[in-house]
């Protein structure tokens, strides 16, 4: 009897509609021709009226990339596959024309403001209501900042990287490349040569930043590589929480994104860095989508300092990202909380590195990977305890959740201990959303997608609870949107 097939399978069709942030804006854009050579770097530097030392640094980076990076090629140890990237087929600079020197919101291109509206960015009044200061990066040039005054009174500097170069060159010069050297890896090296813009934060000694600082990144010009550069310095005894949320419009060909983020926490300082990454993942066949090769690293430079990374990665065709902490100061703490979701043909190879150098240093890693469709999810993490790190401890928890039977989850932990007093714990689990759990929730009236979503959000809770509240809600929504069509 045909109608008697009493099973929970109920197909759900997925259309392109799903990437609801897929739109582009018509803004005059100044684009440098495709390709990369010394001239392009000089052009970028000149466009930004940079001082000589920075141009020299860029050129030094470029030379290293050209001579060594290109020869040895991109890192090949990660579990990701993508077509060869032609680095001469990329625009290395794009700036919205009318946004070159906005004095206030009125000077900002209305279309751009509209784009922010669509993204739901709380710029204008909404920003104030939400208590959020926004340094909005539209392609490469920072177009508007709010809350600047209030922060200024506290001595907190929150501006675009380019402005920081102009107005606070000493701090930039002191810390740029101090955590991620220009020669660090292929992509960081490229970024050091061509970086466009990004955020800069300095929190003076003893100041606790009263609001969450927030930046939205958005890749908007076709085939424009984005090379953000972010630098956050928390001086002695200070605290700052920084949020980064990302969306990008649908594009046919893949887009390269190679950012570098450096964090420095001095003695007793704390930096909390949260990311929601929702770039275009490509279509169901795996075409298009952002290639996200990011180097994020923090240095707990001073005693009792703390750096905490929280990330929810749902977007991009490829995610290659290992936010790390160098635990240099005694009693310093490093944390990494991550939920990475791959659906359809998405690939993520992500994790962290905790490098214990100081005494009594402590690190915590909670990494959760969700694989659906044909997605491939790899956790790659390194815990390294150097001989100097007396009484270091690490706790690592890696959980994988599989949805369907065509996806993959992999866990690749590297542990290197050179001090016998170290205490390391590693827990790992792989699970599937069980039919019993689904049946239970659906028996109470939730439909299949809602039931999946509730189970997955619950499973991710340990990470979500590390996010600021509004972000946690948004993160739940992102998982939901990203998983549409993955169940059924």
């Amino acid at each position: 009897m045909t109608e008697g097939n009493n099973s929970i399978s109920r197909t759900t069709k997925l259309e392109e509609k799903d990437y609801k942030w897929g739109f582009t804006t018509e803004v005059d854009t100044e684009v440098v021709p495709k390709g990369l050579d010394e001239q392009v770097i000089r052009f970028i530097s000149k466009k930004k009226s940079e001082p000589d030392w920075l141009l020299e640094w860029r050129l030094k980076s470029f030379k290293h990339w050209e001579n060594q990076g290109l020869k040895s090629g991109e890192p090949s140890w990660s579990m990701i596959n993508y077509p060869t990237i032609d680095y001469q087929d990329i625009h290395y600079y794009a700036a919205p024309n009318s946004a070159n020197n906005p004095k206030s919101l009125e000077d900002v291109d209305p279309e751009m403001l509209e784009a922010f509206e669509k993204l739901g960015i709380p710029l204008e009044e909404r920003a104030q209501l939400a208590g959020v200061a926004v340094d909005a990066v539209f392609d490469s040039v920072s177009v508007a900042t709010t809350y600047e005054k209030q922060l200024k009174e506290l001595g907190i500097i929150f501006c675009s990287f380019s402005e920081a170069v102009k107005n606070h060159p000493d701090i930039v010069k002191k810390y740029l490349g101090s955590v991620v050297p220009y020669s660090d890896n292929f992509f960081a090296n490229l970024n050091s040569a061509v970086f466009s813009d990004g955020s800069f934060i300095y929190v003076p000694p003893g100041v606790r930043c009263p609001i969450e600082l927030m930046t939205y990144f958005r890749i908007n010009t076709a085939d424009t590589g984005q090379f953000e550069r972010t630098l956050i310095v928390a001086d002695e005894g200070s605290y700052v929480s920084y949020l980064e949320g990302c969306t990008a419009p649908i594009r046919k060909s893949s887009q390269l994104h190679a950012a570098v983020v450096e964090l420095i926490a001095l003695g007793d300082a704390e930096i909390k860095y949260s990311t929601l990454q929702n770039w275009y993942p490509g279509n169901k066949e795996g075409e298009g989508g952002v290639y996200n090769f990011v180097t994020k690293r923090g240095k707990c430079a001073g005693k009792k300092s703390k750096i905490s990374w929280t990330q929810v990665e749902t977007g991009s065709a490829i995610t290659w990202k290992y936010p790390s902490v160098i635990l240099q100061g005694d009693d310093s703490i490093g944390e990494f909380y991550s939920v990475a979701l791959t659906n359809n043909h998405q690939q993520a190879d992500t994790g962290t590195k905790m490098i214990h150098i100081g005494r009594n240093t402590k690190s915590t890693i909670v990494a959760k990977g969700i694989s659906a469709g044909k997605g491939n999810n790899t956790y790659r993490g390194q815990v390294k305890v150097l001989p100097s790190a007396e009484n270091a401890s690490n706790f690592t928890q890696c959980d994988s959740l599989l949805i369907g039977d065509k996806c993959g989850a992999h866990t690749v932990p590297y542990i290197e201990v050179k001090n016998p007093s170290a205490k390391l714990e590693h827990e790992a689990s792989t699970s599937k959303v069980s039919d019993d759990q689904l049946f239970y929730l659906m028996q109470r009236g939730l439909n299949e997608e809602e039931a999946h979503h509730m189970i997955i959000t619950g499973w991710s809770k340990e990470v979500f609870k590390e996010l600021p509240f509004e972000f946690a809600v948004e993160a739940g929504q992102l998982l939901k949107v990203s998983l549409e069509g993955a169940v059924g």
């Binding site: 009897m1 109608e3 008697g4 097939n5 009493n6 099973s7 929970i8 399978s9 109920r10 069980s434 039919d435 019993d436 759990q437 049946f439 239970y440 929730l441 659906m442 028996q443 109470r444 009236g445 939730l446 439909n447 299949e448 809602e450 039931a451 509730m454 189970i455 959000t457 619950g458 499973w459 991710s460 809770k461 340990e462």
Partner: protein, 252 residues
């Protein structure tokens, strides 16, 4: 469909999806509005299978037969459609859902029911009021509900939580799958009281049990004995006494 019936099962045959083993061999049963039916029988007779099939569990396959729920063909409905139409099952072994708070879960469940009835969602305030008062009535410590759903709940606490959910969702048909197993005297009484309080001329119950003890609190209208996938005898509550005194052997 007979007038005045909430549920009508005709010649139901069902098997285990994975193995194909037939569990329900031929069951016909109809439940009128406001009636409380009890199914008793030895282990493996198909009691739990029957209620799970009614709820739509995919580990069982319906081979033939017909199930009408009000004017709907229940078989063609998904699990959640059945739930929203008013079929509730109190689980024998409720799942643990890590990271999901009971409150959050029940709010979502309640909202889904209200939405399908064309009603607005409860405000957090209104919902909490109903939630708290039902919680108190069934005797669940509110501290327990700060944990993840069923996570670290004792057997008895899980059962109380099932009945609590029934009180919240107010189903048309409540299927109680061995809710009384593993309950102490107090919990049994609380469950019995909750069921009795919900009984009215519209709401029906199908209670699966091994024991008479719940039936001391909840007096059924009909009792059926299910052995080897077939209902071998039906009667009123006096049938329970007969089972207690002479076991199932006299029926087979």
């Amino acid at each position: 469909m007979q007038l005045g019936k909430l549920l009508t099962i005709e010649n139901l045959v069902a098997s285990v999806t994975e193995t194909g083993e037939k569990i329900i061999k031929d069951v016909s049963l109809s439940i009128g509005y406001g009636e409380t039916h009890v199914i008793m029988g030895p282990n493996g007779g198909g009691k739990s299978t029957l209620v799970n099939v009614l709820a739509g569990r995919s580990s069982y396959t319906l081979d033939s037969g017909r199930i009408d729920f009000e004017s709907n063909n229940l078989i063609s409905m998904t699990i959640d459609e059945r739930a929203r139409a008013g079929v509730f099952m109190a689980f024998q072994y409720p799942s643990e859902i890590p990271g999901v708070r009971p409150w959050q879960f029940l709010k979502a469940a309640t909202d889904s029911h209200r939405k399908s009835e064309g009603l607005p969602e409860y405000s957090v305030r209104d919902f909490s009021k109903i939630y708290d008062s039902n919680l108190k009535e069934i005797g669940i410590d509110s501290e327990l509900m700060k944990r993840s759903l069923n996570d670290g709940f004792s057997g008895g606490e899980k059962k109380r939580n099932e009945i609590f959910q029934m009180m919240m969702l107010k189903p048309k048909l409540a299927l109680l799958d061995e809710t009384d197993s593993g309950l102490d005297v107090d919990a049994l009484k609380a469950v019995g009281n909750a069921v009795n309080k919900l009984r009215d001329d519209r709401r029906s119950f199908l209670i699966v049990t091994h024991y008479q003890r719940l039936l001391d609190h909840v007096k059924p209208d009909f009792v059926h004995i299910l052995i080897d996938g077939k209902i071998v005898e039906s009667g009123n509550h006096k049938l329970v006494k007969k089972i207690e005194s002479s076991g199932y052997e006299s029926f087979s």
